[in-house]
Amino acid sequence: MADVAIRFKDVSKWFGKLKVLSDINLAVVAGEVVVVCGPSGSGKSTLIRCVNGLEGIQGGDLVVLGESIARPGVSMSGLRTRVGMVFQSFNLFPHMTVLQNITLAPVKVRGLGAAEAEKTARALLERVRIPDKADHYPANLSGGQQQRVAIARALAMQPKIMLFDEPTSALDPEMINEVLDVMTDLAKDGMTMMVVTHEMGFARRVAHRVVFMDEGRVVEEATPEAFFAAARSDRAKEFLSKILSH
């Protein structure tokens, strides 16, 4: 049995009185690509934000790369160097160039020398296919380019796990594929990924498993083939009919 990278054990989470995650049990194996889908407000973002400690959990246990992160006193900074995250809204730092965005954490957190960090950053820009944008500011890039820089920035910390929260939802349709292509490359290289997305084509081609959430619960968990061919729950069927009809 391969290494488990992420394990949710009966994880529950509340925002005030609102229970947003209910008894989540889920394991993600190293090298696996898990797509998380479900209606808006079902807890998908919250689920993956727990993995890098952006949200704390109140019940159960969450083990990431062998370390329980529900325990008090666990180093969030240390955890986050091993878990990269890409947001819907890119979140590049607008006052820094692309290169500065990518080298910031390696230099400030991992203590890399400036020259080495720059070399790595340029290699990553090759990898996300925008080597010529190093000295541009985020505002001068298209949405798709910004998101690819955000991916490069997360990869610069050499994470073991990458989390994506609707990485293409804020993009114009013609830019979606350039981002998905980069993510597909990453998956092929063996990265462990949790991806919240409504891009069912990506799920079909790249995911090893699809997790369907509704009202804070994991309602269905299946291979993409099984999920798309024969979703079992009514909620998943309804969701799929909406999302695939256009």
Binding site: N52, L54, M76, S77, G78, R80, T81, G84, M85, F87, S89, N91, L92, F93, P94, H95, L104, A105, K108, V109, R110, Y137, P138, A139, N140, A150, R153, A154, M157
Partner: protein, 237 residues
């Protein structure tokens, strides 16, 4: 009306020297107080937005306290109130070393730090929360996220309101005359006392303040353009 204007009082006798000394003192006390106010403002303004309640409470009490104490009372507090509490030797030492200047500078800086804090806080709150999340998600600590990302962005956003606050500070430095700091307003009063030419003396003071303020505004406008965030349209002037 039979007032006789006599502008030459401004350059005859001691007047010119007094005005110059007053100008220098005003610039010195304002510049030092500004540095203090900026430091306190950035620190407390940032603390008011961190996800840690005791830090927020501390910074909020600082701001609320100084918003509700008149600057004049606060200057008196430092000049007349605090020294008697100190040991005799220290009292003597500070009164021989320009106590009024330091009390005035300190009062001015701490008071305007509280006002600067509000400006900085509003700048930080204008930044989407996700910028902070993206920073800590890469492994930066909260302190690093503020130092490297949040505060640098906020400072670029707040140049216009920070400019008005800086001009307020400069103008409020005149309150220090009440604890005998020989700044610009103090010196214009002195010229008036010696020459009985109030309008001339006050006009000179007014013009100097005006030139200082216009100069500062021009410098800040350049700073704003120089550090503008690409893609955000910098407001002119």
């Amino acid at each position: 009306m039979n007032y006789q204007f006599k502008w030459s009082v401004l350059w005859s006798g001691q007047s010119g020297v007094w005005l110059l000394q007053g100008l220098i003192t005003t610039v010195e006390i304002s510049a030092l107080a500004w540095v203090l106010a900026a430091a306190l403002g950035i620190l407390s303004g940032a603390l008011r937005t961190v996800p840690w309640k005791p830090a927020r409470a501390l910074a909020t009490s600082y701001v609320e306290f100084f918003r509700n104490v008149p600057l004049l009372v606060w200057m008196f507090f430092w000049y007349f109130g605090v020294p008697p509490l100190l040991p005799r030797a220290i009292q003597d030492w500070i009164f021989n070393h320009g106590a009024e200047f330091w009390a005035g500078m300190f009062a001015l800086g701490v008071y305007h730090g509280a006002r600067m804090s509000e400006v900085i806080r509003s700048g930080i709150q204008a930044i989407p929360r996700t910028q902070f999340e993206a920073s800590v998600a890469m492994g930066l600590t909260t302190f690093q996220a503020y130092r490297l990302v949040i505060v640098p962005i906020a400072l670029r956003l707040i140049v216009p309101p920070a400019t008005s606050e800086s001009l307020n500070l400069l103008k409020n430095s005149s309150v220090a005359l009440t604890i005998s700091v020989a700044e610009l307003t103090f010196q214009t009063r002195q010229i008036e006392t010696y020459t009985a030419k109030a309008i001339e003396a006050l006009t000179a003071g007014t013009v100097i303040y005006l030139v200082l303020c216009v100069g500062i505004a021009a410098i800040m406008a350049r700073v704003e353009r120089r550090f503008a965030i690409p893609g955000l349209i910098a407001r002119g002037g």
